[in-house]
């Protein structure tokens, strides 16, 4: 069964890459390289180390922003979920943040925080944090009342209820918020490098485009998608490790 899902994953990758290769060979556009050209450009960037230098730049705001968003986002989400007053105060901010067109806000951020790493971290946070906060708050509020009652009837302290009931019960939705937040954080990181100052992977993308080196441009785009997918898979592994039973379904009937 496990083998079969691996085979299916490889098969779907092969179909996508095959279609890419064919579309590049047709070609559907002068600016669309084949899969193999892009991979060889990626290989070249790996050999000369330029991709690693680029990621050293890109990962700084990304990791910092995602870490801040996860830490503050889960904390705020727990608080908002536990307190109706706090929800009333903070929830609208995050709903607005989630709905705001980020690219339009970037000029304001740059005006206030300059073109350095602070603005980029902000962009990542604005992308990643709302979904983490709102998911966490919603999950906390929807903890089944009967298992909270159960814990209290066996004399759980407030802390026990939070640590042993609310957080584990909310964890699947907190983690799905984290996954969405992290992928939004990746978008934010690249967006900030394209819109604020070209550094790292964003620099490779915009520079390659300006000199019409499309294979390198697609190689950089491909590499960031690959990194995001790997990171999300690791997050899923962490969740399964921490909350084993949740993965095995819910008792809801």
């Amino acid at each position: 069964m496990k083998n079969r899902s691996l085979i299916l994953k490889l098969l779907s990758a092969a179909i996508v890459f095959g279609a890419w290769e064919i579309a590049g060979r047709v070609p559907i556009s002068y600016a669309f390289p084949t899969f193999l050209e892009s991979m060889s450009a990626l290989w070249a960037m790996t050999i000369d180390g330029s991709i690693f230098l680029a990621y050293a730049e890109t990962l700084k705001p990304l990791v910092l922003g995602v870490a801040i968003s996860a830490f503050i986002g889960i904390g705020l989400g727990l608080w908002i979920g536990l307190s109706a007053k706090f929800e009333w105060l903070f929830s609208p901010i995050f709903i607005v943040m989630q709905a705001a067109p980020l690219a339009a806000l970037i000029p304001i951020l740059v005006m206030v925080y300059g073109i350095g790493i602070v603005s980029k971290v902000f962009v990542v946070c604005i992308m990643a944090m709302p979904v983490i906060v709102l998911n966490t708050a919603g999950a906390v509020r929807n903890t089944p009342a009967s298992i909270k009652d159960m814990a209290r009837s066996f004399m759980a302290s407030d802390r026990d209820v939070l640590v042993k009931i609310i957080i584990p019960a909310a964890s699947p939705i907190i983690f799905s918020g984290l996954r969405l937040g992290v992928s939004a954080g990746f978008i934010g990181a690249i967006l900030s490098e394209l819109k604020i100052t070209p550094t790292g992977v964003g620099d490779i993308i915009s520079f390659s485009r300006s000199i019409a080196d499309y294979p390198s441009m697609y190689a950089a785009i491909f590499s960031i998608i690959l990194l995001a997918v790997i990171f999300l898979n690791l997050l899923e592994k962490l969740e399964n490790y921490l909350f084993e039973g949740n993965n095995r379904g819910y008792v809801s009937d």
Binding site: I147, D149, S153, F154, G249
Partner: protein
């Protein structure tokens, strides 16, 4: 329909001398404008099973949760072994209608959870939990997760959890309503054995008349809006005739009919 609020309880059979485990004194409960319980008094004799029976919305579960300390009453007081209840305590354990198991924890941890919250060391609480898992007939399922069990087995986990904290009073909130009919009959027989073997006081909420008459030493009929005790029935003769004979005993059938006659007008 004019029915006096404090109609004297018609006791059938002799009430026990005085050994009262749980005593409810003039308890009222208001939810905003709605009065759920009004001036309700009721005694629960030690070592016996008392059912709270009544139409839906009559506040039986509210009363049970007040006794458990999960809900505050608006007036009146509850005493367990002479001590006034101010919140959940080690002298009471609750069995939930929807089982209230932790889906992320296996059977062993679920059963030991009450002890875990009381700070009992891991090896000790797991030994106790294993004993009660065997007792409720779930040996071999210690490592299973709740969703891998049938409804009946899940409620056995809930029962084992309540038994393992060794509380004097067991509060059961429609514990068998979410399991199938055959499993329920088995549960009812097991419950009779449990009442006979454990020296505990059982308070049992149900909406099934047959179930209440079958398992109870004492049945309190609650009438709704606002809720009060209208009648207390103590079946006497069929209790010791063996579990197989109860359902065809004339007294059993009479009591079932009598209860239905008094509840009928409250069911729309």
């Amino acid at each position: 329909m004019a029915m006096s609020q404090t109609k004297p309880a018609t006791a059938k059979g002799a009430a026990p001398a005085a050994d009262i485990a749980v005593s409810v004194r003039n308890v009222s409960k208001n939810y905003d404008d709605v009065q759920a319980l009004k001036d309700l008094s009721l005694d629960f004799p030690r070592g016996e099973l008392t059912s709270l029976l009544g139409p839906s919305g009559c506040g039986k579960t509210t009363l049970l949760k007040i006794i458990a300390g999960l809900l505050p009453q608006s007036a009146g007081q509850i005493e367990v072994d002479g001590k006034t209840v101010t919140g959940p305590g080690p002298d009471r354990a609750f069995v939930f209608q929807d089982f209230a198991l932790l889906p992320w924890a296996n059977v062993l941890r679920n059963v030991a959870f009450g002890l875990e919250l009381r700070g009992v060391a891991k090896s000790e609480r797991e030994a106790i939990a294993e004993k009660y898992i065997r007792e409720v007939g779930l040996a071999g399922f210690e490592k299973s997760f709740p969703h891998q069990l049938s409804g009946g087995m899940r409620q056995r986990v809930g029962l084992a959890r309540a038994l393992s904290v060794d509380a004097q009073v067991l509060l059961l909130d429609e514990p068998f309503s979410a399991v199938d009919e055959q499993t329920r009959r088995k549960f009812q027989e097991d419950l009779l054995a449990l009442v006979a073997n454990e020296q505990k006081t059982f308070i049992f909420v149900t909406h099934s008349i047959e179930e209440a008459v079958y398992v109870s030493d004492q049945i309190a009929i609650l009438l709704p809006r606002p809720s009060r005790v209208s009648e207390i029935i103590r079946p006497s003769s069929f209790r010791n005739k063996g579990v197989d004979n109860i359902r065809r005993d004339p007294e059993y059938l009479d009591i079932v009919d009598q209860i239905w006659a008094s509840l009928r007008s409250y069911v729309e």
